[in-house]
Amino acid sequence: MQPSLNPYQKTRIKITQKKSEFQKFFYEAGDMVVFTGRFFRTVFKPPFEWKEVLYQCYLVGYKSTFLIGLTGFIMGMVLTIQTRPSMASFGAISMIPGMISVSVVREIGPVITAIICAGNIGSRMGAELGSMKVTEQIDAMEVSAINPYRYLVVTRVLATTLMIPLLSVFADAIALTGGFVAMNIHDAMGFRRFFSVALAHLEFIDVFPAIIKTFFFGFTVGIIGCYKGYHVRGGTESVGKAANSAVISASLGVFVIDMLAAQLTDLFN
């Protein structure tokens, strides 16, 4: 039977626990910075694993197109259907394509793509590298004098950094198509008219920062997924935890970068 603790002792224990969690957070953040720094030191130095980069691009890009496309299409349709009544009450139905295009291209397309990739790709990378770690496959690479960081991490991070912007552009296009379908059903708006209005509302400042931030989204999803997998300790249970943690951390990272990007864009505006 455990001895009963007085309120002072309980508070002390809680503070100690919080302190250790706090310390752990900062240790992990420091570790993460070192891990990221290692990427930049490794990525520009030969040998380059082009074949593996291409394979990872195929996995990240091509294999995600259906999911991203379907989500983009639904997103565009729902956005149009949801905004239509409000716009109709102002007699501004003709403005809907412009509004959809700006919101999709600036914000919804990149963020939704990155979040889906954080869930789909980040978790896969966390679990894949985590299971390689616990089954000593990463150690096997080390003892074969193969740099596992270069082969496993650099290639994956490059793939996400290059593919998520492409997926984001693809998601934008499909979301606009979804928006057009919704408009066509409700208001019989033609394809040409929808897209001419939609594209007319887009400016350089809408497109350029949105594309730039997707590179950061891609990098974040890749590096966090790999970090979580690469640092798995223990057994198979920790692999699941790593995958879960990769999704949460990468999603959070995407939102933080999005917030910073919004602030910066606003500053330049």
Binding site: M132, T135, Q137, A140, E142, V143, S144, A145, N147
Partner: protein, 297 residues
């Protein structure tokens, strides 16, 4: 002497600043008074299993200590492996056997002590590139074989070749893969995925993947664990044939007395991170010590 192992990547280290034991390179490996004059104090019986007194040990460990937080796993291990010899390390679970061989290839960093592999000190000041040179000459068979499960058997064997022998033609590579698989008796498994292989087959493929780079030293981490007696005997026989064909020296970590009896030239017994006995299988079998006897019954 406290000596922290610290491996750094090439890109992190100024090569000129890497402390290298130049005197070691200048010495005649046979005639000079090595290892005593290299700061590895203590007396070694530098006699190979073949009885050639001139052969220097391929592995020397002196005063190796390793702790995980407050738990001391290795508490000053001294050992050496002569050229062409198979040293078997026996000990109960948690006695630090696996940690010991992982320290040899830099997978674990020793807290204290000195390690020399193939005449190179890997205890301190070693760059990642220098460590990899030693790793290329050292093969490591993991307990669970650690095959890359996203690659077929052929790709598992081709992977280290593609990384280290970039100028090798595809035909030559395929030929080498086929030869190595034939040497481990699994030529027909070339296109299988690791998930389809049995435990014994995985070990054989893991061994083939290591042998394809022709290592001078083999490190076996519990090579027969989880295998039935028949398969365990086959793996032990394979280890003997590898030693003969590839002229390797080796360290074997095992609990399996059959494997130890078949493969050992010499046995070291590790208890709570310290070497407590050393000798041939036959001499240890006759020991009166209760703890040692517990392994042989």
């Amino acid at each position: 002497m406290k000596q922290n192992s610290h491996y750094m990547e090439d890109e992190e280290r100024d090569p000129a600043s890497a402390p290298r034991d130049e005197s070691l390179e200048e010495q005649d490996p046979v005639t000079d008074g090595w290892p005593e004059e290299k700061g590895v104090s203590g007396e070694w019986s530098v006699v190979s299993s073949e009885g050639d007194p001139g052969d220097r040990p391929v592995v020397i460990i002196k005063g190796l200590k390793k702790a995980f937080k407050d738990h001391e796993v290795l508490r000053g291990v001294d050992l050496h492996v002569n050229k062409g010899e198979n040293l078997v390390i026996l000990g109960k679970s948690g006695s630090g056997k696996s940690v010991l061989i992982k320290c040899l290839v830099g997978l674990q960093k020793a807290d204290e002590g000195e390690i020399e592999v193939l005449g190179k000190s890997i205890s301190s000041g070693l760059s990642y590139g220098e460590l990899n040179e030693i790793r290329l000459r050292t093969g490591f068979l993991f307990q669970n074989a650690a095959l890359y499960d996203s690659m077929s058997v052929r790709e598992n064997l081709a992977f280290p070749l593609r990384q280290h022998k970039k100028d090798m033609t595809k035909e030559k590579r395929e030929q080498l893969i086929a030869e190595t698989l034939d040497n481990v008796g699994l030529a027909e498994s070339i296109d299988q995925m690791p998930a389809k292989l049995s435990g014994g087959q995985s070990k054989r493929i893991g061994l083939a993947r290591t042998l394809i780079l022709h290592p001078e030293i083999m490190l076996y981490d519990e090579p027969t664990t989880g295998l039935d007696t028949g398969t365990s005997r086959e793996i032990s026989e394979l280890m003997i044939s590898v030693k003969e064909k590839y002229k390797t020296s080796s360290i074997t970590i095992t609990h399996d007395m059959l494997c130890a009896r078949m493969t050992a030239d010499r046995i070291i017994m590790l208890k709570e991170g310290v070497v407590v006995a050393e000798g041939s299988y036959e001499s240890l079998e006759k020991s009166d010590d209760e703890w040692i006897k517990s392994f042989f019954f």
